[in-house]
Symmetry: C2
Subunit: 351 residues, 2 copies
DNA sequence: CTGAAAGCGCTTACAG
DNA sequence: CTGAAAGCGCTTACAG
């Protein structure tokens, strides 16, 4: 038999209400009784049933995480960040991979059953409509890193900022003939990233010809094929920005096969900072998406919404950073040494 | 106001008990009333509150997943497998990273509060004692891939089998002078794997000298250092088995720096089949640990325990498989062609 | 086949 | 400062 609040009350010679007060650290309890009750709880190892507490309070202390696939390369880092902030307030993350058809239905019924207090939707490709319905019914929902097609509160990477950083680094390395491999054009972030990249290049002496920008599907093979297209078109480039690390890995393979040295002849910068970036050869310099921070920001936003806060009208945008590894030349950042390895032409505009 | 079972009962003109019967698909309900109630539930979009159901039934339909770190490279695959089998029975996975000190306490109190019906403990390094306590108190616990130091029900990789497969493949490739980099010796699996590797080599003409076996800490850098030790000792080897993909990646780096071609001069086989294995150069041939299957098996075992089944005395052992990529030579498996690239000496014993 | 009642284990006004 | 009672929304014997 499980120890219940009634048992503790009996043993302490008080009512359940008083035990409940002690449990919830209410101030209006006589110190002596408080002590006594607490002692008994400690002795018996009493822990209140979460079911009962949840039912009585009408909440769960759990967040539903909706994701197409648990094996998404950056999901672990994102959840790590989310879990960290959730744990501090005693919340738990409940996993709901909805990749296959049945996943969504199960998730939806759990949501309707109020199994969780809020929903963290990671890249909800085709379920935004349904999520909006849930949201309208009052279930707090936060979307991570999706296009802003929906009106749902969201947290996203600043892809334009990422593009700018990539450009900046290539300029610092003195690379002026640039090429870019983008992700699928239907994804909003792709245009943003390309725009940021292009903008930073303006008035620098660097060039990114339209013919040197090609699209790929996000996979390693896609990146390989895209890089081969660039190489076969005999387009000269000494700097390549790839909007996705998996594609960048494929591009490295194509460059290697073509006999182009990296970073000597071509400097390569990826995007995402997936775990794989540390294992390519050379290791991949890349624009880091702040995955744990995204998760943390989403978690906090969700907690705010659960707490009754109004949804922000604009997506929360998080800046990127650059992780320098082996596919770009080491550039000394000491003033005056910047252009050491540069071509001699002015690579840097005044900012 | 949330629709409750009382609302449905009123609308249908029946008692709550009858609605509950319909809800739980009990056979003893008049088809007509059953129809009517179901219709009303559909119209109102009624979904029973999970809190109330859980409290009344004394269960949760959630499993607690205890893990040191969410970012463990193979965790995603493992959870994918577990989630798949859990979802079919309507169970949910609740994440509990307990890496930092506070993690365990939160987890333990959740467990005590019966927030979940069972515990899936992934590599519970230093919490086995506490888990055993929980287990003794009647909480179903299944451990994944830990040393069998504890008496807890567990599911684990057959590392000896993995070692054998690695040996087999190197023999098929005609490699006879072998070396091995193991993980930390205090991990039980390390000895098992080495034993399997050694056993398969017996009576084959292949040699694995004691001096050619070295230990590393599991990291890329550790593998790099270990491979360098082997190289500097001027020990000749044409086949290298590394008990861990991250270490194998480090070994590849060391071999490359030393100018040894892979797989030409040295064939390399890793262990785990982490995502990174597809991104090294050359891509890494490796002994695959069946992560999703491990997760699935653990989930099923846990469900059995929750269902009241007795705990198996022996760990459930799952076999490995070999994933051939670029660090070992392609070996035609057509009879008679096996030794094409072999040295000419008998590499294969009769099995 | 169906209903009234008690119970799951808490919390929360309302009195005192 | 404390207790009796009602309520959270279900399920489950027990009657009929």
């Amino acid at each position: 038999m499980r120890t219940t609040i009634a048992d503790i009350a009996r043993m302490a010679g008080v009512s359940k209400a008083t035990v409940s007060r002690v449990l919830n650290a209410r101030p209006d309890v006589d110190p002596a009784t408080q002590q006594r009750v607490q002692q008994i709880m400690a002795d018996t190892g009493y822990v209140p049933s979460s079911h009962a507490v949840d039912l009585a309070r009408g909440r769960t202390r759990a967040l539903g995480v909706l994701t197409p696939d648990l094996r998404t390369p950056w999901l672990a880092e994102l959840l790590h960040g989310a879990a960290e902030t959730m744990q501090t307030v005693g919340y738990t993350l409940s996993l709901h991979p909805a990749g296959d058809g049945t996943g969504w239905d199960r998730f939806a019924s759990r949501a309707a059953a109020q199994s969780f207090d809020g929903i963290l939707a990671v890249c909800p490709a085709d379920t935004t409509a349904e999520l909006e319905q849930l949201s309208e019914r009052g279930v707090p929902v936060v979307v991570v890193d999706a296009g802003s097609g929906s009106g749902l509160p969201s947290v996203a990477t600043d892809h334009a900022d990422g593009g700018r950083r990539a450009a900046e680094h290539l300029l610092l390395a003195g690379r002026l003939k640039l090429a870019m491999i983008t992700g699928p054009a239907d994804h909003e972030a792709v245009a943003e990233c390309a725009a940021g990249f292009g903008d930073r290049l303006a008035d620098t002496g660097a060039v990114l010809r339209a013919s040197c920008v090609t699209e790929a599907d996000g996979t390693e093979q896609g990146g390989y094929d895209a890089a081969q297209r660039l190489l076969r078109a005999r387009l000269f480039f000494d700097g390549l920005f790839v909007h996705g690390d998996a594609m960048a890995a494929g591009a490295l393979r194509a460059l290697r096969e073509a006999g182009r040295s990296v970073p000597g002849e071509v400097a390569v910068i990826g995007f995402d900072d997936l775990p794989l970036a540390a294992f390519t050869h050379p290791t991949l310099t890349t624009v880091r998406v702040p995955w744990p921070e995204l998760g943390g920001a989403a978690a906090r936003l969700l907690l705010d919404l659960i707490g009754g806060a109004a949804a922000p009208r604009q997506p929360v945008r998080l800046a990127t950073s650059l992780v320098v590894r082996g596919t770009t030349p080491q550039v000394a950042r000491i003033p005056g040494q910047r252009s050491r390895r540069a071509t001699g032409r002015p690579a840097l505009p005044r900012t």
